[in-house]
């Protein structure tokens, strides 16, 4: 397996992909919080 194949799509390293996923989780939590507040 070449090192090129080991790279994730969209970002340069796997670490950046993990951070992207954590950022996505934070975004979802904030979005769900706003959803809860808005429709309450």
């Amino acid at each position: 397996m070449s090192s090129q194949q080991d790279l994730p799509p969209f970002v340069k390293t796997w670490k950046q992909f993990y951070l992207l996923l954590i950022g996505w989780l934070v975004f979802l939590i904030v979005a769900f919080y706003l959803f809860t507040k808005y429709f309450q």
Partner: protein
Amino acid sequence: MSGIDWGVLIFTLIAIVSYGMYKSRGTQNIQGYLLSGQSSPWYSVCLSVMATQASAITFLAAPGLAYSSGMGFVQFYFGLPLAMIVLCITFVPIFHRLKVYTAYEYLEQRFDLNTRALTAFLFLIQRGLSTGITIYAPSIILSTILNINTTYTTLCIGSIVVAYTVYGGSKAVSYTQMLQMSIIFLGLFAAGIMVVQLLPADVGFGKAISIAGKMGRTNAIDFKFDWDNQYNIWSGLIGGFFLQLSYFGTDQSQVGRYLTGSSVSQSRLGLLMNGLVKIPMQFLILLIGVLVFTFYQYNRPPVFFNSFELNKLEKSSYKPQLGVLKVEYEQAFKEKQQSLNKLSSALERNDQAEIDQQRTVLQQSDEHTKAVRKQVTDLMLKNDKGADINDNNYVFLSFVTKYLPKGLIGLLIAIIFLASMGSTASALNSLASTSVIDIYKRLMNKDAGDEKYLSASRWSTVLWGAVCIGMALYASKIGNLLEAVNILGSYIYGTILGVFLVAFYIRHVNGKAVFYAALITELIVCICGWQKVVAYLWLNLIGCVLVVLIAMLLQLFLKNTAPEQRQA
């Protein structure tokens, strides 16, 4: 169900199974049979792990939960993306590098044969029993909806899954799961659109959510920490993380799915995409439940959604009391509708004072209808102590069969079959892998050829299929088996996770220490569970922590024994 619905149902099932069998034809070696020849792209891995985790109950219970108590259940999945990251950093590269077939194979390389055999044995017990329930739980619901005996629905689901899993192995499982998930997404999307279409003309999507929100059904986030509340952000992030890590990291039914990835990158990407998609998907499924809730504010729902249990009560000596409760329920619904119309107008005018007033009235009448439903379920229990008084699983299916157009009903019933088949197929494949690789090949017949192991894998799948179908048929005779199997899982998962955490992160601990730690922990966990010291979900955490601590302690006493240098 109409002829069109039966046609759609039968066509969907035949088409998907045929596709899976066609794509997996010509599997001639054990690697191809158990790991799809490790050739799956990331999207196949992603859909496969999603299909394995999403049982039929996921699609039935989630909208029902949103209907009865709101959207808080989505928080249960908050730990999943974090668990995916840990898996990608630690578990996936090690499993791929060592070219293992099962997760337990790695434990022999890291510790010893005893530890491998113990964890494989624990997995076989837990997964073997729970797969029977994976078949049985949707069977009983489908039999109620389709008015067919449970034996036939159980045999139908079970025999189809066994047939294509035996024939095509892991590849057939992956290909059918890809199509299954596509059909599931399509069906749920169509159902969501139909619910909005069926709402009154002046109630659009936004207003429907607003109305549900005013009645406490859009509570997706709860920051308050409370031991008694199982769905808040903290239990989701912390408890959910451990639960998902142990499930995806140590349960062969999941490990076997991402090991089919053609490389570390493809397996990683499949898991990370699962982490990206899973929470929004659950949110949307719950949102359908919320829309169904609003729909039932304008259309009187049955006093109890499980018609089988309700009919039993109708035919009992409690019929007069049920009649009185039905009248009270009808009255409460009419009162609620008046208030609902006022709320609807207030929302259009944006009259906050009126909105607040009607919200209070609506919440009171909602409590009133809940109280009437509680009295009905109390009557059910008086009539039959074994009555199933939780009708969450029936809310969505009851709506589907009563209000959706012909064709779509068949498609949504097919979804229930497909979801059940997807998770059952993965389980059977993992049971066969563990039985053949960790038991037969390692302990009974070490030097047989590839053909012999392939044949053993097929026979093992047949055998486990028969055991699981037998369990599912027997389950109908034991009322609380579902809970018993869940409890059994909690007895075992924590210990296995503890063993893997020691293997990955505490390198100075050797095989003997972790093996005895696992045995001692199992004993303590069984005593805690037996004596009901804590709620059974906490046994997962206790088991995991105890294995780690006891293994480290034992290692101190065994320090004269040189730590094994088998770490890859």
